[in-house]
């Protein structure tokens, strides 16, 4: 009974609509002509290679940078400041970061103005380079705050932190230095909780479109962009080829992930040998952490700064280091129309809240072994192109007459939001020592009381973080408003997207920053909530 009640919201509001949407979205793959056309596509091989390469390299680099920073700063005074930085980095939408970053590295950008000078921009192959290096760097930088904040909130969790504290002292008494303890004791336990988030980052990096359009390679582009062009075509046959391409990319990626998991299992054996090889005085990589951290923070600061400046600069010709004149036209246009912002805030709060409730109910009523279904479905929802999933969703909502309604708009936002919330929350939630709840129950506390008085406070940081992630994911969704709601309810990202299609950089920058502020607040609040109380 309780199991059923707990499942209800998640199944009804999320899983069923999502499965229906995926089913309808995948109808075109029965189309043999679409597959034939796909395998005839001249950009297929090179494009897929680029997608896998850029997504995988960026994920690996982001993970390594995150671990270096965490290793160097763990238990230092800067550790608790990390969350503030992560909040700012996380809040900046991917697309906004790509635009700002391009303003820095492109041949007409700030770096060239500082280093190359001259009358006109140098012919650097920065931004949109054929190997996708600039895309990889941008993706890496963008994912570091995400992974870092998950590491941080994981380590900050009450019972886990207390346990690690003791293990830390025990390990030191056994002759291990801090660097060795990080590598042998803390990092293995942290990594285990990062499994699903790392997959998300990987899938995202491989299938990302908006960033790839701004700074990714172009001829050929990454395969996600090829698919995106097809799915956006007016021609139904192209749409079918795009759908087939999306399935194909997803399958190839799934194969690569499966292969990597196998490789990882083998690597674990090696790691065990390393973990038990005996005490070592390995110092923590403070210099490396300081370097990686400082470079990341600086690049974010410059990107933010350039976006801010650009939002006030209608024109900023080469080689000027400062715009000729500043004007607030873009901002006044944005502020004159407040209702899209309000609607976006309401939708973000509602979908993040509903997702939290539904996911927590799942965790409370379902055994852990079932999580793979929830998280697998979440990955599918996030890994397939949003245009494709949304197209299936649109067909589904047409049948139940939900298009053009606020309810439909809300459900469409919930799809990615709940997926992210589940992925972010699963690790910390399942890692909670069940004895706390058992103790509380033995003190005759009812289920809700146990949750509210014991689990929620212990999981405070993780819950707040998951909520903030959900909120920020909702804030940048434009496809639902456009497609599901048929454009009848204007949201902020939809305004931003339609206006940016005209290429006015000041307006684009202003909207990008406007989309950043609400998530920034959410992440900052989550960071405050996640701060351990006893320190």
């Amino acid at each position: 009974m309780r199991q059923g009640l707990g499942l209800g919201p998640l199944i009804l509001l999320w899983a069923l609509p999502l499965l229906g949407s995926l089913g309808l979205a995948l109808v075109p793959i029965g189309d043999g002509a679409a597959w034939a056309a796909l395998f005839d596509h001249p950009q297929l091989r090179h494009g897929i290679a680029l997608s896998l390469w850029s997504g995988t390299a960026a994920t690996a680099a982001a993970l390594i940078c995150t671990l270096i920073i965490a290793a160097g700063l763990y238990r230092s005074r800067l550790w608790n400041r990390l969350q503030a930085f992560s909040a700012a980095g996380l809040a900046l939408p991917h697309l906004a970061f790509a635009i700002g970053f391009a303003l820095l590295i492109a041949p007409g950008g700030l770096l060239a103005r500082l280093l190359a000078g001259g009358e006109s921009p140098p012919q650097w192959v920065t931004a949109q380079d054929p190997l996708g290096l600039s895309l990889i760097v941008a993706l890496t930088l963008k994912e570091i705050p995400f992974l870092l904040s998950l590491v941080w909130s994981g380590l900050a969790r009450g019972d886990f932190a207390a346990g690690l504290d003791g293990q830390w002292r025990a390990a030191r008494s056994l002759g291990h230095g801090p660097g060795s303890i990080w590598l042998r004791v803390v990092q293995p336990q942290v990594l285990r909780r990062l499994f699903w988030p790392i997959l998300i980052v990987w899938v995202y990096g491989t299938t990302v479109v908006d960033m790839a359009l701004v700074i990714g390679p172009t001829q050929p582009p990454t395969f996600a962009v090829v698919i995106w062009h097809d799915l956006n075509d007016a021609d139904a046959a192209s749409n079918a080829r795009g759908a087939a391409g999306a399935i194909f990319l997803t399958l190839v990626l799934a194969g690569l992930i499966a292969l990597s998991i196998t490789a990882w299992r083998l690597a674990l054996k090696l790691r065990q040998a390393f973990q038990t090889s005996g005490p070592s005085r390995l110092p923590v990589p403070r210099t490396a952490a300081a370097f990686v951290g400082a470079v990341t923070v600086c690049l974010y600061a410059v990107t933010f700064g350039l976006l801010l400046l650009m939002s006030f600069a209608p024109r900023w010709p080469y080689p000027l280091l400062w715009p000729e004149h500043l004007s607030a036209v873009a901002w006044s246009g944005l502020l004159a129309n407040g209702s899209p912002l309000m609607l976006s805030l309401v939708l973000a709060a509602a979908s993040a809240g509903a997702a939290l409730v539904a996911v927590v109910l799942w965790f409370e009523t379902q055994p852990e072994r079932r999580d793979r279904w929830l998280l697998g479905l979440a990955l599918a929802a996030l890994g397939l192109p949003q245009v494709l999933v949304a197209a299936g969703q649109y067909r589904l909502f047409l049948d139940i007459d939900f298009t053009g309604t606020l309810a439909g708009l809300f459900l469409a936002h919930l799809t990615p939001v709940l997926a992210y919330v589940a992925v972010v929350l699963a690790g910390p939630y399942r890692a909670l020592d069940p004895r706390y709840a058992a103790v509380a129950r033995s003190l005759r506390a009812g289920p809700f009381h146990v949750w509210w008085r014991v689990k929620a406070p212990l999981l405070r940081g993780a819950l707040a973080m998951a909520g903030a992630v959900g909120f920020s994911v909702s804030m940048v969704q434009f496809v639902p408003a456009q497609l599901i709601a048929a454009g009848r309810f204007a949201t902020l990202p939809m305004e931003a997207l339609t206006l940016s299609s005209g290429g006015n950089r000041a307006l684009t920058a202003a909207y990008a920053l406007a989309l950043t502020l609400p998530p920034l607040l959410a992440f900052t609040m989550a960071g405050l909530a996640g701060r351990p109380r006893w320190r």
Binding site: G163, G166, Q167, R169, A170, A171, R172, S173, L174, G175, H176, G177, R184, V185, P188, Q189, R192, Q272, Q275, T276, S277, G278, P279, S280, R281
Partner: protein
Amino acid sequence: MALSLEHLSIALNGRTLIAPFSLVIQPGEIVTLMGPSGSGKSSLLSLIAGELELPFDATGEVDLDSKPLGGLAPEARNIGRLFQDDLLFPHLTAGQNLLFGMPRGPKREREAAMQAALQDAGLSGFAERAPHTLSGGERSRVALMRALLARPAAMLLDEPFNKLDASLRASLRGFVFAHLAARAIPCLLVTHDRADAPPGSRILTIGESGEIRDA
């Protein structure tokens, strides 16, 4: 190989926790320090281990084998510890926990030492077991063997029997003291339970104003 504490004192926010005192613990000797909760017993152990941090205010010197330990990092002091919790690493098996602190050397020798230690502890065949599958007594024994396999020059025991039930306590005390005696290293045990002290050993108590005297 004696552990010698000279003029140690600890204060917190101007309040004296431990008044200045000196103590020499000989190899093979187990000194028991008794005091109520909050009396600064654990802080004293942290000070000796090199883990005491601000806002504690400590003075005095700790020598091990006539070498001053001041300024050395905890891992460089060669002082083993047992805590109230067993603090086994949850991501490692019992055997891997034992190997964790064992000095580097040929793999086969280390493995053999690990197996011997398990056998010693009555835990033969437990090498592959995850810590959470062990009973409280088994975990405590693994924790002790882990500390001893690191070949410490001294041991600090922070109420290690506190969380065990009465029947286990007696047998574990015997187990611990027998192994410590075999190593012939100085040990300092803190507890609030007189029954924890090995029979015939020297017992100190912490008074109200932090003064330490023989019981």
